[in-house]
């Protein structure tokens, strides 16, 4: 009995620009990684949280993001091949799916669906995810590459944010700044290039601009209808924000996105033809069944207007990150400390951020998607859900599957929970007379 909706949209001059640019930039990234691998040029394996792209790009060291690469294998329907290859080597089904996809890729000739998956020439990790460190050690043993682990002390006080006026903070800045200087030395050694502080300034300036643009992009979804889906389109913005962090092409991309979204807003064009429910996503999607997952929400005209993923995987660019170019290294240390805190303390304080987002973006409900193979991101989600319902009156749905492992996807159960959630949202709306 479902009626087919026909989208009648005005012809927009910017339509499709983001998608075209995103594809071209991602293709080019894979091409550059393949060329670097073929030329035996050292590539840095780094992560979306704490990438330190600012330093790596100063030395023109190509960056490979194994998390993004793993996600892409899932979207391409290939993740299971690599997961099983890793499990054949003895890696447990309980281990992070991203790690196992990476292990499987390395074990099967490094042929990624989008290009050649490079060998790491160095690794930049941090303690923002406990798995990063052990993952880096696998590469270290496998390829003998140098590993740099950024140790972020974390705020010892209570609350979500660093107290940046405290003596503790100043001491922490010195501690992190010293580590960044170590990374600069290592990067110089690996790349064979001298450190150019003006180039670092230029890159930091680009990150500042990207951050401003990214914040404006996110704010676009405060409009009704929301011009983009923070899950489907947001994941592309996020990917480019990471791989081109601090580069002119990254700034240009963000300008393209913003221009397209501004035009959509000006013409009242939403991500969905008929937006009925505005949602916040906490966690990630199941990328193996990405379209099915999104479809279960769109079937009810539900759009994700915001996503926690667009925050914690963005290295702080959603939080108005601003480097002081007159003291670049110290400022880099400060900003890393400040912007990493929400991720570091997420288990205990993420509900505060969710309440704020729910209000600012006027969401009808929150979808909490627990990742079975990542307890770090999944821990605390049921508690946050209950807190939001009982203290902020925002209903939440808790579902579970995985980032990349299709064995953890159960369509009937997933759909049942999602349908029931929307039915309850509908009831709420009727009862409140909206």
């Amino acid at each position: 009995m479902e009626t087919q909706k026909v989208a009648i949209r005005p012809a927009l001059s910017q339509a499709g620009n983001t998608r075209t640019a995103s594809r071209a930039l991602m293709d080019n990234w894979w091409k550059q990684l393949g060329e670097a691998d073929a030329a035996a040029q050292p590539v840095a394996n780094t992560f979306v949280m704490g990438s330190l792209a600012e330093v790596l790009n100063t030395f023109d060291i190509p960056m490979s993001f194994p998390e993004i690469a793993a996600l892409q294998t899932a979207v391409k329907g290939k993740a299971m091949d690599y997961l099983l290859a890793a499990e054949d080597l003895g890696y447990s089904p309980d281990i992070c799916g991203y790690v196992k996809v990476d292990i499987g890729l390395h074990a099967t000739g490094r042929d990624h669906p989008l290009g050649k998956y490079p060998k790491p020439g160095m690794v930049v990790a941090s303690n923002m995810c406990n798995t990063y460190i052990k993952w880096a050690e696998v590469w270290e043993r496998q390829y003998g590459c140098p590993v740099f682990v950024l140790d972020l002390p974390g705020w010892r006080g209570t609350g979500f944010e660093y107290d940046s006026s405290s003596e503790t903070f100043r001491n922490d800045v010195k501690y992190v700044e010293g580590q960044i200087r170590d990374l600069i030395s290592l990067s110089a050694e690996v790349s064979g290039k001298k450190f150019d502080i003006d180039k670092l300034r230029e890159i930091l300036g680009n990150v500042n601009r990207m951050s401003e643009l990214y914040q404006s992009i996110l704010a676009m979804n405060k409009n009704k209808p929301a011009p983009f889906n923070a899950l489907t389109e947001g994941i592309n913005y996020m990917g480019i924000a990471n791989i081109l962090r601090g580069l002119p092409e990254g700034v240009e991309f963000m300008e393209t996105v913003l221009a397209e979204l501004e035009e959509r807003v000006a013409h009242g064009v939403g991500a969905l033809t008929d937006e009925r429910y505005r949602l916040l996503l906490v966690g990630t999607a199941c990328y193996t069944n990405f379209r099915d997952f999104v479809g279960m929400f769109e079937r009810w005209d539900g759009v994700f207007v915001a996503s926690e993923y667009m925050s914690y995987a963005g290295g702080g660019i959603d939080r108005g990150l601003h480097y002081d170019l007159s003291r670049p290294i110290e400022s880099l240390a400060e900003q890393i400390l400040i912007t990493s805190q929400p991720s570091m303390s997420g288990i205990f304080f993420s509900h505060e951020w969710q309440a704020k987002m729910a209000e600012e973006y006027d969401v009808d409900g929150i979808c909490y998607h627990g990742v079975k193979s990542c307890r770090t991101t999944a821990a605390g989600l049921p508690d946050a859900r209950e807190w939001l319902l009982n203290n902020a009156g925002v209903p939440g749905l808790f579902i579970q599957s995985d980032l990349v492992d299709s064995r953890l996807w159960a369509e009937a159960q997933m759909r049942n929970r999602i349908d029931a959630f929307f039915e309850s949202l509908q009831s709420r709306r009727v009862q409140s007379g909206v």
């Binding site: 009995m1 159960q413 049942n416 029931a420 039915e423 309850s424 009831s427 009862q431």
Partner: protein
């Protein structure tokens, strides 16, 4: 004017035919099996046979349960979460919390006075703490499901089941028997395991009296006792509790006919 609710569950399919005055004229029950559409039709026809009416007299059919989209004669679909909530408040108007132990999943639902869902919580994707756990005990001990409850109530020193996996439960049950434990103590151990997991789900949505227990497991007397003991008050059940999901579906069907409420997707409005 008649309407129907058909609940195609993972284990059993239930159907009811009700009048505009909420009187239940017919009930149908059959095993679901592999052919979901056939099961829905069989249960519906069984319910219809108990009435003096024919299929064209049924103005609207709402399907619920995992097989709700397979009911090709259904007019709309609503999830069993909403249907159990609605059905429970209809059967026991003071209901504010609902516990449904189904064949493959268990639902804890907080409801409003008019049967709308405020919040719900379900078991994880595995069948631990569901009716299937009892099925495993029935298979392992070769005791009919209907006899498990009375047998459990005779327990003196129940065993403590440690596994939460329904598949592994069979081997643990046999292990206890091999150790010489009395069968009623083993069966009660199984009941305790399900009851504690189910009530834990209920606690997560917040236990608010009255509590209504729904689904096929309500026919198990030991489980009703245990759940009541764990929540600290007598849970509501009656002979209609088994059909609660189908009753809720029928009430949504009635809404559609009387008010034209809802959308093309059969939303409970």
């Amino acid at each position: 004017m008649l309407v129907a609710g058909v609940d195609v569950g993972s284990t059993q399919t239930k159907a009811v035919i009700i009048t505009g005055e909420h009187e239940i004229l017919g009930r149908g029950l059959c095993s679901t099996g592999a052919k979901l559409a056939d099961a829905g039709e069989t249960a519906f026809n069984l319910a219809l046979e108990q009435t003096e009416f024919a299929e064209p007299d049924v103005a609207f059919v709402v399907g619920t349960g995992y097989g709700r989209f397979n009911i090709d004669f259904g007019d709309a679909q609503v999830t069993e979460i909403s249907c159990h909530a609605r059905g429970a408040v209809h059967l026991f108007p003071g209901t504010r919390s609902v516990l449904d132990i189904g064949g493959q999943d268990t639902k804890a639902i907080k409801v409003t006075a008019d049967g709308q869902v405020v919040d719900f919580n379900m078991n994880d994707k595995c069948a631990a703490g569901t009716g299937r756990f009892l099925g495993a005990a029935s298979d392992a001990l070769e005791i009919p499901l209907g006899e498990l409850g009375p047998l459990a109530l005779a327990a003196k020193n129940p065993v403590k089941m440690t596994t939460t996996c329904t598949v592994f439960a069979e081997s643990e049950i046999l292990g206890w028997m091999a150790k010489g434990r009395r069968i009623e103590d083993v069966v009660m151990g199984v009941h305790n395991s399900i009851a504690s997991r189910s009530v834990s789900l209920l606690r997560r949505v917040g236990i608010e009296p009255e509590i209504t227990f729904t689904g096929g497991v309500t026919r198990n007397t030991a489980m009703v006792e245990l759940i009541s003991e764990l929540v600290g008050s007598r849970v509501n059940t009656n002979e209609e509790s088994h059909y609660c999901g189908a009753i809720g579906a029928a009430l949504y069907a009635l809404d559609q006919v009387l008010t034209g409420a809802g959308t093309e997707r059969g939303l409970p409005t």
